[in-house]
């Protein structure tokens, strides 16, 4: 916890973020490209789904990051409300756009996967609908955070909204258990999977790769936001 508080100092954070950004992007690119190549060429087609099962290697990371992004917003918002760290507010705002993009990509790749597998692009079932709601919750968060910043707010309202939005995460997670949906049940867990390891292994590379890329994007957005805030503070001082 002490190291987290130490990182909340913007100058210290920037000293760490500058070398970390290219390292995360490079590692993310290598792992993602290797995982995609392996998923497209080194695994057998599914006996039932055929080659369309290869969409798994990008669909699962986008779902993980769409939901993980909101968890990041909630943690940063909680940190901002409890400890008032300005960096936590910046982090929550920086996560919102990539989180929304990955939530959208999850919906889009799922839809593309659904057409050859289910025979439909879209179905209003529990998993798809709750994920679509999360995407809209992201858009509303971005609009709220922008409006709050424009009117000179202290960021408390978007932070409360960021925490309240977490109610959607267990709904998405357990939607395939609570409702009899078209979407398949849980097939990948932390300790076990119903997918054979000969087909599953490239997923760990794309999961790690996209996560590193996501972290790199968030760091770049945080650096841009901090630089903008410092520039505006300097202009205010000059005008005073």
């Amino acid at each position: 916890m002490a190291s987290l508080h130490a990182l909340a100092n913007p100058a210290r954070f920037l000293r760490l973020a500058r070398p970390l950004t290219p390292a995360l992007l490079l590692a993310g690119a290598v792992l993602t490209l290797f995982g995609c190549w392996a998923g497209l060429t080194q695994t057998p087609p599914d006996y039932l789904q055929g080659d369309s099962v290869r969409i798994l290697y990008i669909h699962v990371p986008t779902a993980w990051l769409g939901m993980g992004g909101w968890s990041g917003i909630a943690l940063a918002s909680l940190s901002y409300l409890v400890w008032r760290h300005p960096l936590a507010r910046v982090a929550a705002r920086a996560i919102a756009l990539p989180g929304a993009v990955f939530a959208f990509l999850c919906l889009a790749t799922g839809s593309i996967w659904g057409r050859p597998t289910w025979g439909t692009w879209w179905e209003w079932d529990g998993r798809l609908t709750s994920m679509l709601l999360l995407f809209f919750v992201y858009l509303a968060y971005m609009a709220l955070a922008r409006a709050d910043a424009d009117r000179g707010g202290d960021g408390r309202l978007p932070a409360i909204y960021g925490i309240a939005g977490t109610v959607l995460l267990p709904i998405i997670r357990y939607s395939v258990v609570w409702w009899n949906t078209l979407h398949q049940g849980e097939s990948i867990g932390l300790t076990s999977s119903t997918i054979d390891s000969s087909m599953l292994w490239p997923l760990w590379f794309t999961l790690a790769g996209f996560t590193f890329l996501f972290a790199g994007i968030v760091l770049m957005r945080m650096r841009a936001m901090l630089a903008r805030e410092r520039r505006e503070a300097r202009m205010r001082r000059m005008a005073a």
Partner: protein, 37 residues
């Protein structure tokens, strides 16, 4: 139904959007950091 068309569309969309997001974030960061200096 050629399944590879769907696979290509999903990979193209995801990788394209990720590259665009990285490029846009990098350009925005460089622009504001350069301006500040």
């Amino acid at each position: 139904m050629n399944q590879w068309l769907f696979v290509a569309a999903a990979y193209g969309l995801t990788l394209g959007a990720t590259i665009a997001l990285i490029g846009w974030s990098y350009a925005a960061m460089r622009a504001v950091e350069r301006e500040r200096k």
